[in-house]
Structures are given as C-alpha cells and as structure tokens.
Subunit: 318 residues, 2 copies
C-alpha cells in the first residue's frame, strides 16, 4: 500500500477528490512545516511542498508534486533521489499572480501608493500627471501561465503587449508581439511597463542589471512577481533612487523576508508586497492545485505520463 503525504492546505471536499484519485492508498495530511524527515521517509508520493532539507534523497519517494511553480530548492544536487519525479504547479497561479502584478501596475500608474502615504499624513495633496495603461507598451518577460494571464489583462485594458520567451513559437492570445530572450535589450527601451515572471534559475539570476535599468524609459514601471533572484536589491534601489525608472512593484526580493536594514523599505517609488501573490489567498489557486495533484497522482499510480515534470537543467517544466 502506497503512502501519500499531503501538505496542500485542503478542505474536506478536496480530500475526497485526492482519495478518489488514490484508491487503496494511505493518506497522511499535515502542514508544510510539519513534514518531518520521518514522515517524508515513509512517503511514496508527496502532494505539496515540504522543507527540501528533510527529503534526504529518499529512494522511496516516487513523485513530488509541488504546489509552487518555482522548483529551485528541489533541483539542487542531493535533495531528490534520481528516481523521484518532480512536478511543479505551473498553470495554477496565472490568475492569482497575474492579477496581483496587474493591480500593482495600476496602483503605481495612478499614484495610489503615494496618495496612501499622503492620507496617512492627513495630506490633501495632488501628485500630478498619471498615465493610462491603455496607451502603454507592456513588456512581459517570462510567458508562462502567469505572464500570459497578465498579458491578457493588459491587452484587455488596451495596452500593446510584447512577450519575451526563451524559445520560438506561435504568438499566444493576448500577446501582440513575440520576441526571444536574446532580443531583450532591443525591446527594453520601448516599454512603458516591464513585468517579470521569471523562475529562479542560473540563467535568470541578476538578469536586470544596472545597464538594463539604464536602458529603460525614465517613465517606466518595473514589476517583479517571479523570483527575487532576477534583480539585485542594490541595483533596483539605485535605479529607483536615480530616477532611471519611475517606479517599481515587487512581490519578491533577493533575500526574503527583506532584511530590516534594506533601503528598499523607504523608497517612495517602490511598492513592496511580501511574496504573497502566489499563496493560496485566491481560492482559485487551491482548486487548481488539488485538481492537478489528483490528476498526477492517478497518472503516477497507473504508470501514465505526468503533467508539469520539471527539467532539472532549466528549473522549468519540460
């Protein structure tokens, strides 16, 4: 009898869905932080994230189905046994993170973060010119499920959307123009909004260099709802302080939580959220994760092909 460890924050109705997908299996439910080395060692399948250090390359573990899109902690050498299949949750976060990034862009473009500060000071102050996303060129770097959802929202509001992708392919719905990652530098100067949804891999580390911020419009808004490793805090801070870009909204930082001494906290033109856009705060995220976990559990038990298998080379799904 297979043992299934579930760390998804499920409700009773979700348990029924998972248990129907894994008939004859033993299910153990616990919170992510409660997934000890002992519990993990007994698991044939894990549905959810667990502390990477507790996996200890367990040979018994056949499938680790994450509830995160990013798989960075699990692809490090020695974390998983070579026979363990790692699947991520690509496809579950498009709506939640895409909408969060979209809301950040509008907040910044309409100066609502500054009006909030003024309200706190009891100040009835006018911050002047705003712009309309409808008149903007929006660059979307990382065209997975999240980037695509964000692109569709921007386009629905009237923006011109330019998607940046690693590999050539057809131009997806919601994207007006498609360029390859290698062409990033040529399109940065045209963008009014640069939105980044890149996973944390070797290729994306510190991608947004000082030179790249300098190449952006002074009026540009930069948003990062991918991984914090794509931008060094120091570089972002300089770009915002020097006025190389107008404003930024970030849900992720180089080091999380953001260290107390970081100058980012105090920047007026930075809007910061504490890596919450992709949590289970939107009900939709949990529903999609449960559906994916049930599908992949059933497929795994039946020896069929799995969805969202992670490529250890790239950190993306294959």
């Amino acid at each position: 009898m297979k043992t299934i460890l579930v760390t998804l924050p499920v409700e009773e109705r979700h348990k029924k869905i998972l248990e129907a997908a894994g008939e004859d299996c033993r299910f153990h439910y616990c919170a992510m932080q409660e997934a000890t080395k002992e519990l993990i060692a007994e698991a044939d399948v894990i549905l959810g994230c667990v502390p990477a250090g507790n996996i200890q390359a367990s040979e018994r573990l056949g499938l680790l189905q994450l509830y995160s899109a990013g798989a960075d902690p699990y692809i490090a050498p020695g974390v998983l046994h070579e026979n363990t299949v790692l699947c991520n949750a690509t496809g579950c976060y498009g709506k939640a993170v895409g909408e969060h990034a979209f809301a950040m862009v509008l907040t910044l473009q309409k100066n609502l973060h500054r009006y909030r500060d003024a309200q706190r000071r009891h100040c009835w102050t006018d911050f002047g010119q705003v712009c309309s996303l409808a008149d903007c060129t929006v660059l979307i770097v990382g065209l997975g499920d999240i980037g695509l959802h964000f692109a569709r929202l921007c386009k629905a509001m009237g923006a011109h959307t330019v998607g940046v992708k690693r590999r050539p392919g057809p131009c997806p719905e919601g994207v007006d123009e498609l360029v390859l990652s290698a062409e990033l530098d040529s399109v940065l100067p045209q963008a009014d909004v640069v939105a980044s949804f890149l996973p944390g891999t070797g290729d994306t580390r510190a991608l947004y260099t000082a030179e790249r911020f300098a190449a952006m419009k002074k009026t540009a808004v930069f948003v990062n709802c991918g991984r914090g490793s794509a931008v060094e805090s120091r570089v972002l801070c300089d770009a915002l302080k020097s006025g190389q870009i107008a404003a930024a909204g970030i849900d992720v930082c180089e080091i999380e939580p953001l260290p107390e001494e970081s100058p980012l906290w105090e920047l007026e033109n930075l809007l910061l959220t504490p890596h919450i856009s992709g949590n289970f705060h939107l009900q939709d995220v949990l529903e999609k994760n449960v559906r994916l976990a049930a599908e992949n559990l059933a497929a795994f038990l039946a020896g069929k092909e799995l969805k969202n298998v992670v490529d250890f080379e790239t950190g993306y799904k294959k």
Copy 2:
C-alpha cells in the same frame, strides 16, 4: 467682435484649434482662478470653469462651456443669466475617472493599501485572503461616460456588471444587466463592488444611507468617484468601522478638502485620493475638452445645436 474667455489649461497647439473654431473672435486666456468679475463681464463665451461667484448673472454671457462633468455650482439660482446656455464636459472624463476607480478597486481587493502601510512600518506581513474581480458582481451606479468606461474595464477582466440608470433604455456595451434607480435596493445585496459615479444633485444627496450600507455584503468594496455629496462622511465612517462593508475607495468627500479632524483619514480600510481622478492629469482629458470646446464654440457662433447642454432641473446634460 465676440470675446472668448478660455480657462482650459491649453498648450499652443490647442489655441490654434480653438481659434480656428472662433474666427473673428478675440481670445483671452487665463487660469481658472484668474477669471475675475471684470474679465467675465466682458466675455460672450467662456470655455472652461470660472469661480461661480464671479459670473454675477452676466447678460452678455451666451455660452458657458465647462470643463467639468459636474455643473452643481453653476445651476444654483442667480449664478447664470437666463439666456446663458450651460454645457458640461460629459464624455471627457470616462477614461481618466473610470481607470482611477478601477485601479482603486484592484488596490483594495489585493490589499495593496495595507501592504503599503506595512512597508512603511518595515513589516513583512501577510494579510491573507484576496478576491478576484473576475469572480465579482460589480454594481455601477450612474451610467454616464465614466460609469460605462469603468463597466467595460470590469467586464474585460471577467466581472459580471450590473448598471443602475435613471431612465429605461437599451443595455449598453460592457453592461450585463441594467436596472433602474428605483430598484437599487434590490440589487445592492448582490454586489461585491458598488461603484458610484453620480453627479451632485438634490436626488443624489446622501443617497448611500446607513441602511443601504447595511444592505451591502460585508465583503463589498464601495467606490465613489462621482460627487462627495452622495455619502455623508459619518455614515461611510460607521459602515467601514463596523465592518458592514470591507473597504472603500473615495476620490470625493462630503467636504473638500477633507477636514483635518475627520476620522476618515485614519481608517485602514479606506483609500482616499484628493478629488484628482478627473483633473487634467491624464492627457486624454485635455484633448477631449479642447475638441468639445471647439465644436461647441463653432456651433454657438453659427447658431447651431450644442452638445452637452445642462438641464437645470437635474444637473445632468439634457
């Protein structure tokens, strides 16, 4: 020779457009605050807003073409001579104010105002559940140009839109359901978002009573980008403090600027902007106002029908 007083904040290229519409006229340009009784007394046409008290029912004034959608100060008895035609700027603010209200809704739904406060306190804190506008029923009270623009933005994001209108008519694009003002109370309990774009008239004064806030969902977000007179500050404050509604975003207040002693400043679940959504902060607003002023000036001089003539009974355009 007719004298045209212009208080629109025009650029040189706009002057050319206006002067082409009023050939053989004498143009005088000044800021709104600089429109003295003397200047107004010499004007046959005013293009722009002026201090209402300075008009003194001038008999010479044939046309007052406002750059505001609200005409409240000018329809009061004794302000205008009976021969003066008053036109408002309906149609010029849809994009600017609609987008501002839309940004406010998203900011509140995604807790960005609270994350901003937390950032200011250097706090990496999670505020939990959010919702998606795509899953919401949005009530739009006041279906002029602004309400319609807002409705279209909400619908493009996936919301179900219910429009509230004074008079029966066909259901406009962007609106899923149309109800009459008299039915407001029956639809309030269904709305996840209640957005108000009403002008300041006798009919709309204190429309949002304590009973109406009590009838709304506890999770509802209320937005007012119409006129502040539609909600008494005390009533709004109570509704927000008692949790009758979840949050509010207001660009307008009962008294403006909001008095220093108002408790509204300190409410965490209120987002306040200082009546700026309809200023000339979005370039689009000025372009549309200049076009309208030029058209109405030409029509007035030619004795033709004018656009946006205000009905003194209702304060709306006829």
